[in-house]
């Protein structure tokens, strides 16, 4: 469903992506791992059409994202949900209004239907009580859950999660991953999760890929990742300071 081919991206003199190739099947959830600052978020933003690559292409259902613009890009984005690292909730709107926002702007649902839909989504993420609160009035975990509700409110076919557990305590982090898994069972989206929550993330994904020095160094099942003989992958998975990875 998602095909990334030889993607290159540089920022001034820094080459972040040096030929990333990756494919994700329909309904599959993939965990994208790698050191901080090695281009995982950049790759997600390319898939969402928020960035243009220097070289290479991305295909979603055979349609090249990198060359899309205007109405065709908008149509593609209507199939896509994105959970941003910081939530990216609109701070001038309440949690409920944030979740309602995409429905109000992009669907023909009436106010009553929107209210019902918002309540349902907030119930799914356990945020019914926070509906009338502003993002500044709730915790980091609640912001992530509210952002998840907003991303899922239009039933996307593809979900991109940019570090959904970063900055959260291990219990809330695990709860978010469990929530993602239950949402996947409900909606059967194709997803990519960028996270450092290892090995917990392996319980909710079908496959994992390791991005290192601008390329996919390894892609395979969570089990294969855990038992990898590659010293770089092993060092990353174990979180050891000794090894080939310089930081």
């Amino acid at each position: 469903m998602i095909q990334v081919e030889e993607l290159h991206k540089s920022f001034e003199n820094l080459e972040v992506l040096r030929g990333v190739s990756l494919s994700i099947e329909k309904g599959e959830v993939l965990s994208l791992m790698g050191m901080s600052g090695y281009g995982k978020s950049v790759l997600l933003k390319h898939i969402a059409g928020l960035m243009k690559p220097d070289r290479g292409r991305i295909l979603i259902d055979g349609e090249e994202v990198t060359s899309l613009g205007g109405g065709r890009l908008e149509r593609l984005r209507s199939r896509l949900g994105f959970l941003f690292q910081g939530g990216a909730l609109f701070d001038s709107l309440t949690i409920g209004e944030n979740v309602a926002f995409p429905l109000k702007e992009k669907t023909a649902l009436n106010a009553c239907e929107i209210r019902e839909r918002v309540r349902y989504e907030l119930e799914q993420v356990g945020l019914t009580a926070a509906e009338n609160k502003y993002p500044a009035q709730v915790s980091g975990g609640m912001i992530k859950r509210a952002a998840l509700a907003r991303a899922l409110v239009r039933d996307p076919e593809i979900m991109l999660f940019d570090e959904p557990t970063t900055g959260l305590d291990p219990i809330i982090g695990r709860a978010i991953l469990t929530l993602i898994a239950s949402c996947h069972r409900r909606l059967n989206f194709t997803g990519i999760i960028v996270t450092h929550q290892i090995p917990q993330v392996f319980e909710v994904v079908n496959r994992a890929a390791f991005l290192h020095e601008g390329r996919i160094r390894m892609a395979g099942s969570p089990e294969a990742m855990m038992t990898s003989e590659d010293p770089v992958v092993r060092q990353f998975i174990s979180g050891s300071v000794d090894g080939p990875i310089r930081y």
Binding site: Q85, A88, L89
Partner: protein, 264 residues
């Protein structure tokens, strides 16, 4: 070849070229930003609720500062004008002098500078924060055009509000001048307003309106652009806000001179 590459002259040429390219690129980006803002402002759909909110913010909430600055600008003009005209025995012309200075120059310029300081800076900061917290990316991913949602309502609000605020500034300035000239310094009230009616033409009023309209476009163009292309983090937003206010103020004065000398 290596010696040539290190020559100070070539280094200077290279740096000048790099700077020129940078300036041209920035000007192009700013020009394109304005064209896009005007295009989206002229084509439907319009976010009416956002427009009303921004008219309230840029227009209504600036009224107090306009009232204060307008009144005191008129009072100062009344004082200075009276003592200057008194030297030539022409105190009777105090009313038209104050009215013409306010309507043609000070009203549009000072109102625009006040709105830049109060509303323009807030526009830059708000859009800048939305940029660094990925809220603008979120808008794009929802299939919404950030220009229509963020820039157009501010642009139209400024186009609507600024001429009205300028008119208010002029009225309060004339009343401030009346307070000083008539009530404090003894110019006849009838002369103050009577001479004003004789000397102030509708063309002068139109000049002020044209200026305030163009200043409205200019300040949202600069402040919106700086917010939209803000740097990283809190420092980036702070820098963008300062640059937006300074650049808007300078451009307003330059554009004012240009309009006065070329167009009128």
């Amino acid at each position: 070849m290596r010696i040539l590459a290190r020559s100070p002259f070539l280094t200077l040429v290279r740096r000048t070229g790099k700077l020129s390219l940078f300036v041209v690129q920035r000007m192009g980006r700013m020009g394109l930003f304005l064209v896009m803002a005007l295009f989206y402002a002229a084509t439907p759909p319009l976010k009416l609720d956002r427009l009303l909110k921004q008219i309230q913010f840029i227009g209504f909430q600036s009224m107090l500062v306009i009232l204060l600055t307008g009144t005191f600008a008129g009072m100062v003009l009344g004082l200075q004008g009276f003592y200057m005209l008194n030297r030539f025995g022409s105190e009777a012309l105090l009313g038209p002098m104050i009215a013409l200075v306010l309507i043609k120059e000070l009203g549009p310029v000072l109102a625009a500078l006040m709105v830049t300081a109060r509303g323009g800076s807030a526009v830059t900061a708000e859009i800048g924060i939305m940029r660094i917290t990925e809220q603008i990316d979120a808008l794009e991913l929802m299939g919404l055009n950030p220009f229509r949602y963020l820039i157009v309502p501010n642009l139209l609000a400024a186009i609507i509000a600024l001429p009205l605020l300028t008119a208010m500034f002029d009225v309060f300035g004339i009343l401030g001048g009346y307070l000083v000239g008539v009530k404090l310094l003894g110019v006849s009230g009838g002369t103050y307003f009577g001479e004003m009616a004789t000397y102030v033409d509708i063309k002068d009023v139109a000049e002020g309106v044209y200026k305030s309209l163009s200043f409205g476009i200019l300040l949202i163009w600069v402040c919106g652009y700086k917010g939209y292309h803000t740097g990283f983090g809190a420092e980036g937003v702070s820098k963008a806000t300062t640059q937006a206010v300074v650049l808007s103020a300078v451009l307003i004065l330059i554009w004012d001179y240009f309009m006065t000398s070329v167009l009128f």
